[in-house]
Amino acid sequence: MGRALINVPAKAKRGEIIEIKALVSHPMETGYRTGPDGTLVPRDIIQRFVCTYNGEEVFSADLFPAIAANPFIAFTTVATESGTITFRWIDDQGRGQIETAKITVE
C-alpha cells in the first residue's frame, strides 16, 4: 500500500476524549469501471480498518466500493493510559499497512 497520515494528540489528560484522524493513500478501485480497452478494471479496495489502543480494539470499520480514493477516517476514543495506538488497513490483495502513534496520558 502507500502512505498514511495520522493525527493523534501527543499528550492528553486521563479520561479525556481525544479525536483521532487517519488518512491513507489507496486507489479504492470499485471494480465497476472500464479501462481504456473496454474491460473492467479489477476491484482493489481497502476492506477493513482497525485501530487498537495498547492492543485493545477501540475502533474498526468495513469499507465498501462506494468509498472515495484515499479514505480519511476520523473517530474519538477515551485517553486511558500512555502507550501506542496502532492503525491497520487491509485491502483486497490481502496487503496490509500498519502505522503507529505514541500518546502520553497524564
Partner: protein
Amino acid sequence: MRRPPLRAWACVAALVLGATTGLATEIPPAQRRSGFDDMSRESQAMQRDDTANPGMLGVLEGETLWNEKAGFAGRSCADCHGDARASMRGVAARYPAYSAEQGRPVDLEGRINLCRETRQNALPLPRESREMLALSAYVAHKSRGMAITAGEDPRLEPFRARGEVLYRQRQGQLNLSCAQCHDDNWGKQLAGAIIPQGHPTGYPLYRLEWQSLGSLPRRLRNCMVGVRAEPFAPGSPEVVDLELFLMSRARGLPIETPAVRP
C-alpha cells in the same frame, strides 16, 4: 474520475443560456482572490489541516523521490540541490521561468524532466504520472505561503503576451474565451458552482472530483473540453505560455500547494 465530467458540460451550457457577453476587462489587483475563498468551510478546513489534506500524501511521496537515485548518472535530486526546504524555497512561485538552453519558458514539470534528461540521464516522467505529480507537489510545497512572482523576467514578455492572446481568444464549438468566464463573470453562479477567477495558486492540487492530484494543464484540458475545443497537447508551448500568463496574472497571491478543490 469515477464520475463522468457532466458538471463541466452543464456549467458551460448554463453560461451560454445565461448569454453573458461582456467586455474582457482585467480584474483589479485589490480584487484578486484565490479559489480557496469560494470553497465550502469543510473543503477549506481539509486544505488547512496537513493530516486531512490528501495532497500531502503526494508531498510525502515526493520527498522519497527527491532523495532517490535515478537514471544512469545514479544521482538523486538531493545530490545536486541538497535540502529542498532551502534550495526549492520560492521556486514554484516564479515558474514557468525562462530557460536559456530552451530559449523559451519551461514550467515546473518541464524543468523536472529537463533535469532528469540532462543531469540524471533518466527517462522523462510522463506528465500526469503519479511520480511527476508527487515530485512537483513536493517542490511547490516548499513555496507555500510565498507570493507568486512569475513573469518578472523581461525575456518572458513575448511568451506571456502570447499566453494572454490564448486567454482572450474565443475557442471551441461554444466559442468562449477563458476571459469571458474568469474575468467578466467571476463570483457568479455557473449551475451549482461559483466561477473562480482562475488563479493557479495551488497546483498540483487535489481535486475531490479527480480523487487524485492533478496538474494545471489537466485543469486547462478540463475547461477546454468544456467549451468543446481541442485541448492543447501536454507540455506544448501553448500550454506553457498560458500557464505563464495565468501565473503572472495571479502575481502577489500566495502559493497554496497542495491545494484542495471540489
